[in-house]
């Protein structure tokens, strides 16, 4: 884009997400969503007031380096929910159930419509201990289905090291008596497999209606956690965005 320019979408919408990852209950909330990128490479994505668990609108700030149109990479920081909210409540530590993480991302533009994306993030702060590693790997395919309508599908997996899985899905000896769960020492590995779909409808050059659906299936040690009520989780959102 031209020097000193930017491309920004801001808007509001509604999201429906499980109350925590692995929860049977969902919660519907308003969401203030956005994405912005500047000509200097800095980008900001996600819900400005993120909810506890909202995989469709993770808050990310990063710096994009593009040596060629085929590859983008760079550092980024992200904020995400750290562990089940009801556990946080019972332990009366709800204020620090958030995890701030830093790492990097890489995107391979395989064709004009297909990309392979990956990121690896390390927790900088987290109430259960920093330093855990979480990575995502996704393949994303976009298609223009009609004038001003495009659909994207993506699928992939999330990996976490043993500290990451234990932080989110484990139950420590200290937590066990408070929460009523047995002690559970989770192990690292593939945490989930997921599928997403996103339908973008450009109502005009300035207004976009974005509808997204995201399905995850917890796997491995994460799926076996006593805190997990269901392995399958679904999230959805509809947002109306204005392009600035």
């Amino acid at each position: 884009m031209p020097e000193g320019s930017h491309d920004r979408f801001w808007g509001i919408g509604v999201s429906v997400t499980p109350t925590f990852e692995g929860s049977r209950e969902s919660v519907t909330r308003p969401v203030v969503d956005g994405s912005a990128q500047w000509s200097n490479g800095i980008f900001l994505n996600g819900a400005l007031l993120p909810s506890r668990y909202d995989p469709l609108h993770p808050l990310q700030l990063g710096y994009r380096i593009s040596p060629s149109p085929a590859i983008d990479f760079g550092p980024m920081v992200a904020i995400r929910e750290g562990w089940p909210v009801f556990v946080a409540r019972q332990l009366n530590t709800k204020d620090n159930a958030w995890a701030g993480s830093a790492g990097g991302f890489i995107e391979f533009n395989l064709t004009d419509d297909m990309k392979l994306t990956g990121n690896l993030l390390a927790d900088l702060w987290s109430s259960k201990g920093a330093g855990s590693l979480i990575g995502n790997l996704d393949l994303r395919q976009t298609a223009n289905v009609a004038a001003h309508h495009s659909v994207a599908f993506w699928g992939g997996l999330r990996w976490g090291d043993s500290l990451a899985v234990r932080n989110q899905f484990g139950v420590t000896a200290e937590q066990a008596p408070v929460t009523g769960f047995p002690v559970y020492g989770a192990k690292g590995g593939i945490e989930d497999l997921h599928l997403g779909a996103d339908w973008r409808w450009d109502l005009s050059n300035a207004w976009r209606l974005s509808t997204a659906l995201y399905l995850t299936r917890l796997t491995g040690s994460a799926a076996g956690s006593p805190e997990v009520q269901t392995r399958n989780n679904a999230s959805a959102s509809v947002t109306l965005l204005r392009r600035f």
């Binding site: 519907t28 060629s68 085929a70 391979f108 064709t111 004038a147």
Partner: protein, 252 residues
């Protein structure tokens, strides 16, 4: 998902589809309650995001590889390949930019890189119904005023297009090769419009056939001369009696 959540989603969807922009397109309010400029301007024909196309087109300008024989242009492509583009008009519109982009005989225009248009989120408009046309990037070989093309230059030109395509995405054109070029002439061009002259030899005509401008032969709107590199190894020149409308690579 709970019923209440579903209701909320549906309500929002309905609200959004009745956004001011889409209402304005239908009702086109005038006078009394003056809507914001971009809403009053809502356009019923085909429109495209200038920012999206800018990002696609700027890649070629920033490309540091060999590109001395080739050019990148914006192509107006009808969804129905046999549809004529005569009379089509392309223009760039934003709050303070109003620019008509002249189309050549094949529906190509040079892309204007304007910061002001980008910053104002301009749109590119075509006076055709939405959905019947697309705007694409078209790479082609530069034509010469003297009509004389060295075979070596033409092979290099085709390679330049292929190298650029490979640069632009990781998997595209990994297995394709440059096999030749298509010279596109107006339909009324003579059958002997293009020929090849080898060193110390007479000019021999290349066969011309009726076909479409960009591959295919359903509409036969143009005269095509196909030069296959395998048939013309070594040195020589392609001589054109009239300027081709375009020279495009054949990648197979």
């Amino acid at each position: 998902m709970r019923p209440s959540a579903l209701c909320l989603l549906v309500a929002l969807l309905l609200l959004a589809t009745r956004s001011p922009a889409s209402d304005a397109a239908v009702v086109a309010p005038r006078g009394a309650s003056a809507p914001p400029a971009d809403v009053a301007d809502a356009y019923e024909g085909a429109w495209f995001s200038y920012r999206d196309l800018y990002r696609r087109m700027i890649r070629f300008e920033k490309y540091g590889g060999p590109k001395q024989f080739i050019q990148s242009q914006l192509q107006l492509a009808p969804a129905d390949k046999t549809a004529a583009i005569g009379g089509a008009q392309l223009s760039l519109r934003s709050h303070s930019v109003r620019l008509d982009l002249p189309l050549d005989a094949l529906g190509r225009a040079s892309f204007p890189f304007l910061k002001q248009a980008y910053d104002e989120n301009a749109e590119l408009r075509v006076n055709r119904p939405a959905g019947t046309v697309a705007l694409e990037q078209q790479l082609s070989i530069l034509t010469r005023a003297d009509g004389v093309y060295a075979l070596g230059d033409l092979r290099a030109a085709c390679e330049e297009v292929l190298q650029y395509q490979r640069y632009a995405s990781l998997l595209a054109h990994r297995l394709t090769r440059c096999v030749g070029l298509a010279f596109i002439f107006p339909k009324e061009a003579p059958a002997t419009v293009a020929g090849v002259r080898r060193r110390d030899q007479e000019r021999s005509s290349l066969s011309a056939m009726d076909g479409d401008a960009w591959g295919g032969n359903s509409a036969k709107t143009h005269k095509l001369v196909v030069l296959r590199f395998s048939q013309w190894p070594g040195e020589g020149q392609v001589l054109c009696e009239m300027a081709p409308l375009a020279i495009t690579p054949i990648l197979e």
